[in-house]
């Protein structure tokens, strides 16, 4: 009994040490190994437990291997025939029972966590309901309780449970914010998935699509912005502000209306989910999910520059996306730059 307890303590110690080592791996806003929310932490706890058990198993297998390779190497001149052993009932039972125990140790918390993860908060009044729709290759976020729709940046209040309803408009995608939670597929109507997570700490987290969805699958990224409750309310309010800001230049405004707003929406202007909603695009973390907006230029470029890059040739940024090249729509370089400037200036308070 004493021995079992000691082994258990060793396992715990190793788990803790392993946690420390693994926690050094990767970016805080991206790595599975640096969980920033309860959902990711629950996965991480299971991972630590399973890695610990598996390392113990590996150490045993490695040591026995090394021992037999060295100890039982055939020596020069060795001719006698080794004893032909049929097997050993005791030993074979031993290595049937030990793995069984290890499996049970892992299976119990696994089953617990599976059912805990099944709690999706879809009927929780305190939770923020968000409908996530995957598109080739962008993400649409609809806040059903507030009548607000946005794209690419998911803004959430820190600490609150967010209840997601996931689906796709085209092929399968998988919604994944590694540092906040495991992934969940977006399936077509009829097989809509629900799950939830929360982000206790304010910050920006990187999200990805994890299911092969076409050429730009690797570029189907998004950001989760966890902000204070007050900032979230402000954001909702400015998203709901009725007037739609259009370019000041009337000619440009007309072009924007006739060419861009047939697919995109800004503010209350024709709502359409063919393409990302552009309301307040100047305040977003990135353009097209991958061109990071950064005025200090350490990790990207200023938003206006990114918008120009995107608008001048969307295909070269995200191959296979469905946005027509603005030039093919009859826009001149100056007009494109003008629209980029306008969009960059279209920020939320």
């Amino acid at each position: 009994m004493m021995k079992t307890w000691q082994a258990g303590r060793r396992l715990l110690l190793m788990t803790a040490a392993l946690g420390l080592i693994l926690a050094g791996c990767g970016r805080e806003d991206l790595s599975v190994l640096r969980p920033q929310g309860p959902a990711a932490e629950s996965s991480f706890a299971l991972m630590k437990l399973s890695i610990t058990i598996m390392i113990v198993v590996l150490l045993i297998v490695f040591s026995i291997s090394a021992y037999v390779w060295i100890r039982f190497r055939r020596k020069p001149g060795q001719q006698e025939i080794p004893k032909q052993v049929e097997g050993s009932f005791k030993l074979e039972v031993l290595w049937t029972v030990i793995p069984l125990i290890l499996v049970i140790i892992l299976a119990v918390p696994t089953v617990k966590a599976v059912f805990a993860a099944g709690n999706d908060h879809s009927d929780d009044k305190d939770a923020i309901q968000v409908k996530v729709t995957g598109h080739q290759y962008w993400w649409e976020f609809e806040y059903t309780d507030y009548g607000v729709t946005t794209a690419q940046d998911l803004v959430i209040p820190a600490g609150k449970d967010i209840a997601f309803e996931l689906s796709t408009k085209d092929v399968l995608h998988s919604f994944w914010v590694p540092s906040l939670s495991g992934k969940m597929d977006t399936n077509p109507d009829g097989t809509v998935n629900r799950f939830s997570f929360s982000a206790p700490n304010e910050g920006v987290y990187r999200g990805k699509c994890a299911e092969l969805c076409g050429p730009s699958h690797g570029f189907m990224e998004f950001k989760v912005k966890s902000v204070s409750e007050a900032a979230f309310e402000d954001w909702l309010a400015s998203m709901k502000a009725p007037e739609s800001v259009l370019p000041e230049d009337p000619v440009l405004a007309e072009k924007f209306k006739s060419q861009c707003l047939t697919c995109h929406a800004v503010g209350s202007m024709p709502a359409s989910s063919v393409a990302p909603n552009l309301t307040g695009i100047g305040s977003r973390e990135s353009v097209a999910g991958i061109l990071l907006n950064d005025d200090t230029r350490v990790d990207g470029a200023p938003v206006e520059e990114n918008l120009k890059t995107w608008l001048h040739d969307p295909q070269s940024v995200k191959p296979g996306n469905t946005m027509p090249n603005p030039k093919d729509l009859g826009l001149t370089d100056e007009e494109i730059d003008g629209i980029a400037e306008y969009l960059a200036g279209y920020t939320l308070d």
Binding site: F115, G118, K183, P215, G218
Partner: protein, 612 residues
């Protein structure tokens, strides 16, 4: 010509080996291109579409056209010899199986030059693999090519089942059968039950694409998740179709080079059966993030973890086979020794993946890529290398160079661990799989570089292996009957390479490790169970080749049946299914001939056997 008409299992083994080897090389080149593209962030070496075609073809080629045929090569070369048979049960079908595999493989690879390779991943998830999102003929090549190749696998599997059940030498009960024969037997049983699932899936997908059916289309009342179920009901057992033969090889190589009988033979047999059985009940662990709900996820989690138990039994039995033995590190045994820890590493990450809530994080990341390459390359390919080096003298009558073999081993295994070990961390740090490039500053850069360097080193290992084969083939036949000196099973009792009829007299088996038992009793060879007499041999025939050509033509005809061609004649031929009909006519015509022509084969007379 001799090679096109042969029905001899040993020649078919060599055909499988060459064809499989060439496809393996193509798959390897695809892998190298993939790794070059990923060597640094935002690389522009390949474009996104080409990259997706490469990953799809790499996976498909390696699994269906690379490793499976090499497995079949070993089975064909060894199984009849190990059980003391003169051929497989149905030599004609054996040839047919090879040719359908080859023509299916050729059809699939034609996609590179005929307007776009498949690009929806080797799993071909719908709707991405539907015509709406994959408009080229790529996925048609996938569905029809794999259908034809799969036919060959199914035929081969049934053939081995029949062979092992009915053609064992006198005295060889099931519990005296070598482990590789057991592995082949169980593998064939899995093929028999798993391949019909993929056959159905591919038919449905073909119908969706070519005949506009709606099996997987929500708008038409279908369901895309259905494809995932069908695919993985086949796909998971497929993993065991791949790994069990490798287990079989290791169970032959380790005892031979430890000079000890396999530890816990009967528990090995039962572990193999148990793995096969459990393998059919765990498919949904590939689908934890699909949204099956907690009950299904919990059940499939636990059932998947259970597979660790029989697998663990095997690992420890191998280790204890060496315990107390005299271990000799020849090239085959080096690969077998490398197999044990490497495969164990792949196995334990498998248990980690089985934990559904943790899998929500692992799924579709480089962690999974690392895991299955540890199992398939670190397990199966190391096992195949062990087997090829081990049986090469028996198959070709020449010993491979030990020095080059050791170089192959070290470059390959070091390259392997370099490539795939770091990928575990890439996945955990947030890199999803199947991405054609990645943004900089995510701490992915160095690990990807290391991985690419490792892949190159594996390539070097393969080149050394090819050089070894080439140099060896120029030397005279030098292999003894029992070249490793400690051979335990029947294949080592006959000349290398074996004569066309394998055994002049069918041997009498008196126990497990029949040959070893005779050697220990002080005998030079096996006791025959029959007097020398005329041996009945099947006739060579070109019909299997023709049947496969026919299916191949029919497949192409069907695939292009809705295309607009520039020329009227072409459009007429294809759009009216005339090409399809012609192909089927060739196939069914050959079948008719096969039924009508009464071919009793021929005999090798005793005088000839005595060398007169």
């Amino acid at each position: 010509m001799d090679w096109i008409t042969t029905v001899d299992h040993k020649k078919i083994a060599i055909l499988y080996l060459w064809a499989g080897g060439i496809f393996f090389g193509i798959g390897g080149l695809e892998a190298i291109l993939i790794r070059i593209q990923l060597i640094k962030p935002m690389n522009t070496f390949l474009d996104a579409q080409t990259f997706n075609e490469l990953i799809t073809m790499h996976g498909t080629t390696m699994i269906f056209l690379g490793v499976m045929p090499v497995i079949f090569a070993l089975m064909n070369a060894v199984i009849p010899l190990q059980i003391g048979a003169r051929d497989v049960a149905f030599p004609f079908l054996n040839a047919l199986g090879f040719w359908t595999f080859l023509f299916g493989g050729i059809l699939l690879n034609l996609s590179w030059v005929m307007g776009g390779a498949p690009d929806a991943g080797w799993t071909a998830y719908t709707p991405l693999s539907s015509t709406s999102y994959s408009a080229t003929h790529g996925v048609d090549f996938y569905t029809i090519g794999l259908q034809i190749a799969g036919l060959g696998t199914l035929i081969g599997g049934i053939n081995f089942l029949a062979t092992i059940i009915t053609m064992r030498a006198p005295g060889m009960s099931f519990m005296r059968m070598p482990m590789f024969a057991w592995a082949t037997f169980i593998t064939s049983a899995i093929i028999l039950f798993a391949f019909p699932a993929i056959t159905v899936g591919l038919v449905l997908l073909t119908f969706d694409r070519i005949l506009e059916a709606k099996f997987f289309d929500v708008a038409g009342g279908g369901n895309p998740v259905l494809w995932q179920h069908i695919f993985w009901i086949f796909g998971h057992p497929e993993v065991y179709i791949l790994i069990l033969p490798a287990f079989g090889v290791i169970s032959e190589v380790i005892p031979t080079f430890s000079r000890k009988r396999l530890f816990g033979y009967s528990s090995m047999v039962f572990a193999t059966i148990l793995i096969a059985f459990l393998g059919f009940m765990v498919w949904a662990h590939h689908m934890f993030t699909t949204g099956l709900g907690p009950v299904a996820n919990a059940l499939f989690s636990v059932s998947t973890m259970l597979i660790a138990i029989p697998t663990g039994i095997k690992i420890f039995n191998w280790l204890f086979t060496m315990w107390g033995g005299q271990v000799r590190f020849t090239t085959p045994n080096l690969f077998a020794a490398g197999f044990i820890p490497t495969f164990t590493m792949g196995g334990v990450t498998g248990v980690m993946l089985a934990s559904a809530p943790a899998d929500f994080q692992f799924h579709d990341t480089y962690f999974v890529v690392a895991h299955f390459h540890y199992v398939i390359v670190g397990g199966l390919v190391l096992g195949l290398f062990a087997g090829l080096h081990y049986w090469w003298p028996k198959m070709f009558g020449r010993m491979l160079s030990e020095r080059l073999g050791k170089w192959t081993f070290w470059t390959f295994i070091i390259g392997f661990h370099l490539t795939f070990f770091v990928q575990h961390f890439l996945g955990l740090m947030g890199m999803q799989r199947r991405v054609f490039t990645y943004l900089p500053n995510q701490q992915f850069d160095t690990l990807n570089l290391v991985s690419t360097v490792g892949a190159m080193l594996m390539g070097v290992g393969m080149i050394i292996f090819l050089a070894n084969i080439f140099l060896t083939s120029r030397r005279p036949l030098d292999a003894a009957d029992d070249p490793w000196e400690d051979g335990r099973t029947l294949e080592w009792t006959i000349p290398s390479p074996p004569p066309e009829y394998n055994f002049k007299q069918t041997p009498l088996v008196r126990g497990l490790d029949a040959f070893w038992k005779e050697k220990m009793a002080g005998h030079k060879g096996m006791t025959p169970s029959e007097p020398v007499g005329p041996i009945h041999m099947p006739s060579a025939t070109i019909l299997p080749f023709l049947m496969s050509v026919g299916i191949f033509i029919a497949g192409l005809g069907f695939m292009f049946s809705r295309d607009e061609f520039g020329s009227d004649i072409m459009s007429f031929l294809f759009n009216n299914y005339i090409v399809t009909a012609l192909g089927l006519l060739i196939t069914f015509g050959s079948m008719l001939l096969r039924s009508l022509i009464d071919d009793h084969g021929w005999h090798i007379e005793p005088e000839e056997l005595e060398g007169r």
